[in-house]
């Protein structure tokens, strides 16, 4: 059943005459259910003609003073070549030449510039899907985002004014909200097509994004008059190429007075020579996170690559040893490594290991069974004896927050081998075991002073345990507050209580 009512006939005829496509006509007539838009273009055209035919004669009379381009209804059914006054009518052969020639019955729509003509039909969707499949991403759902040229808003605005005026003659009102938005209609049509072609649902929360950007170079200057009328809406942004962003254009359109608009922009909008071009079709997958704990057994391994002036000072790093394998398996573009605190190059990490998390950026592969993750962990562990990884698992972004909290709040355990100049006996170091919650004020260590502010930070050493080794050595285990600089801590404590010890650190 044709969705337009008698009421809408005049508006529909007016729009069709001025070069508007059937789907845009539906939008301006308030057709807000999906089904009509999904019908094939040719069918829509013929149905529309049939609908309007009854009043054809009257309408031709009415449109006596037409805007420069007039489309007579008979011609729609016939030839490929549309011979209008200005010779506009041929859809230029764009890169999508094959698609264009099929829909050459009508000019490029003067409102949607072809978006709701060829660019929402199955052939185009297939083309996009081919690219998606070629990109090699693994996905179970997708979110489709589309970007239209800003001048569409200007044309939409002009068409609205035109229709509003026409409806006013019939004592009918038309609010902006009565019109179906271009993007909405576009998604109504294309979402099911994408789903069908790729075999996955469209889900707004999906991490996998397919984005299509349209441009229409021919009409780029349509917006420019707005800059003169509403200069404060257009602030030059440093990185953007054009000041005429969609947001800025919308803002200006809301501001500008009707009379001013109509003076500057043709109403109805004129028909373009060419249809939109596809600027880009891109796919990207949101980041996935892998976490675990690592042990470091080497005293020659930095956590991150140590490169000064382009020269690598030490071979490899903790993050590379773990992440390189993940990068390959997840087929990710890049990674961000973070951990709950870190240790020096020459310090080992023992015990349960230090928690870490790796963000894998734009991964092509995202689904792994727990068995596969176990195997991945084994692979990492087999590849190096400098580090070992445990509890490797996929986690959410929130996990990173928890881990970083630990950096500030958890306690740390250290073990240091202390060399003493003078001879010591077992009983000499026993008193250390009784010291609890020792407060020390630490100045920023010289070691990091070049990159951190000079400050005094109060720290606590919760407890200590000494283990006699021989007359010149003992091991000291310390349990400290997070962020305590170990050599400083030892020095302060031991210097305070143990004056005749000459410390290694």
């Amino acid at each position: 059943m044709f969705p337009l009512t008698e009421e809408s006939k005049r508006v529909a005829q007016l729009l069709l005459n001025t070069g508007t496509c059937p789907r845009c006509i539906f939008r301006f007539c308030g057709v807000d259910f999906h089904a009509p838009y999904k019908l094939p273009y040719k069918e829509l055209l013929s149905e529309l003609q049939k609908f309007l035919e009854t009043e054809k004669d009257e309408l031709i009379l009415e449109v006596m003073n037409p805007p420069p381009k007039k489309i007579r209804l008979q011609e729609l059914e016939d030839s490929v070549d549309n011979l209008s006054q200005n010779g506009e009518g041929r859809i230029s052969v764009s890169q999508d030449g094959s698609i264009a020639s099929k829909i050459s019955n009508l000019n490029v729509c003067n409102i949607c510039l072809g978006i709701l003509q060829e660019f929402c039909e199955k052939d185009f969707v297939k083309k996009v899907c081919q690219k998606v499949e070629a990109s090699g991403f693994e996905f179970t759902s997708l979110v489709f985002s589309v970007s239209f040229p800003p001048q569409l808003s200007v044309r939409e605005h002009a068409a609205w004014l035109l229709v509003k005026q026409e409806m006013g003659k019939q004592s009918l009102s038309l609010g902006r909200d009565d019109i179906v938005q271009l993007k909405e209609a576009y998604k109504w049509i294309t979402h099911p097509l994408f789903s069908e072609e790729l075999g996955v649902p469209i889900d707004g929360k999906s991490l996998f994004e397919v984005s299509v950007v349209f441009a229409h170079p021919e009409t780029v200057e349509d917006c420019h008059f707005l800059a003169a009328k509403c200069p404060d809406c257009f602030k030059p942004a440093k990185n953007k190429q054009s000041v005429f962003t969609r947001m800025a254009v919308m803002k200006a359109l809301n501001k500008i007075k009707e009379e001013d608009f109509l003076k500057q922009f043709p109403c109805p909008p004129n028909s373009p020579k060419a249809t939109c071009t596809v600027l880009e079709i891109e796919c990207a997958h949101g980041a996935v996170f892998v976490a675990g704990r690592y042990n470091k057994y080497s005293r020659n391994l930095p956590q991150t690559p140590w490169i000064i002036d382009g020269e690598r000072k030490l071979e490899s790093s903790v993050e590379e040893l773990i992440s390189d394998h993940l990068l390959t398996v997840f087929k990710a573009e890049s990674f961000n490594f973070s951990s709950s605190g870190r240790e020096d190059v020459d310090v080992r990490t023992l015990g349960n290991g230090r928690p870490f998390a790796i963000e894998l950026v734009n991964p092509h592969r995202v689904h792994f069974t727990s068995q596969e993750i176990k195997e991945l962990q084994q692979k990492i562990n087999n590849s190096s004896n400098k580090i070992q990884v445990r509890d490797l698992q996929l986690v959410t972004r929130e996990a990173i927050g928890h881990m970083k909290e630990g950096e500030e709040e958890k306690t740390k355990t250290y073990s240091a081998l202390i060399w003493t100049d003078k001879v010591i006996q077992r009983k000499d170091i026993e008193f250390l075991n009784d010291i609890k919650d020792l407060k020390i004020d630490q100045k920023t260590p010289l070691r990091v002073l070049h990159r951190r502010p000079l400050a005094v930070r109060a720290r606590v050493i919760h407890s200590m345990e000494s283990h006699y080794v021989d007359e010149h050595h003992f091991r000291l285990h310390l349990k400290t507050q997070a962020g305590t600089a170990l050599p400083g801590a030892e020095h302060t404590v031991l210097r305070k209580y143990f004056r005749w010890i000459h410390l290694l650190s």
């Binding site: 010289l446 070691r447 002073l449 070049h450 990159r451 951190r452 502010p453 000079l454």
Partner: protein, 181 residues
């Protein structure tokens, strides 16, 4: 560092030797034997200390007091730095005075920066207990911490002597003294 160069046991490298490179400036400001030792950390921070050949560190010298007031308007104690980029720090040139050391025998010595850069801090412990300066000149008895400009971090050592060069100067000095006596 070891007073006995022919130690039987290997000397355990100190913290200073593990993390710092020693640079020297001899006869600073033309004053005979007033040698300074600059400890340069691998992160380019410099710790200004007295070299072991400095008169203050010779046996028999007693320090009466140390002052960081180097002029009527400038006290190194007033140095305040803030933030990662150490804003507000007093900027030092090579000849900038850091402190004055007054000895019980009436002698007065000025310690100079020897490197260009921002003053991070001066050692307040030696104000309260000057003997630390003599007991541990390379560690707890340091004079000041200076952060050179990043671009200059390599060039600041161009005017300074390496450990080896310093030792050669010391030998020459001893020979000259023995020759004249």
């Amino acid at each position: 560092m070891a007073t006995d160069p022919e130690a039987a046991e290997p000397v355990v490298p100190s913290l200073v030797d593990r993390y710092f490179t020693r640079w020297y400036k001899a006869d600073v400001k033309g004053k005979s034997c007033e040698d300074h030792c600059i400890l340069q950390h691998s992160n380019r921070i410099c710790v200004i200390t007295l070299a072991e050949s400095h008169p203050v560190l010779q046996s028999g010298k007693t320090i009466k007091s140390i002052s960081y007031q180097i002029s009527t308007n400038c006290s190194r104690l007033q140095n305040k730095v803030s933030g990662k980029f150490k804003r507000g720090a007093q900027f030092l040139t090579e000849l900038a005075p850091l402190c004055k050391i007054y000895c019980s025998d009436g002698e007065e010595y000025t310690v100079s920066s020897c490197v260009r850069g921002r003053l991070m801090e001066v050692n307040e412990n030696i104000l309260h207990k000057p003997s630390i300066l003599q007991e541990k000149p390379s560690t707890e008895g340091y004079i000041a911490v200076v952060l050179p400009k990043f671009e200059e971090s390599k060039s600041i050592t161009e005017g300074l002597l390496t450990q080896k060069q310093y030792e050669e100067v010391m030998v020459k000095r001893i020979n000259a003294t023995t020759a004249t006596s």
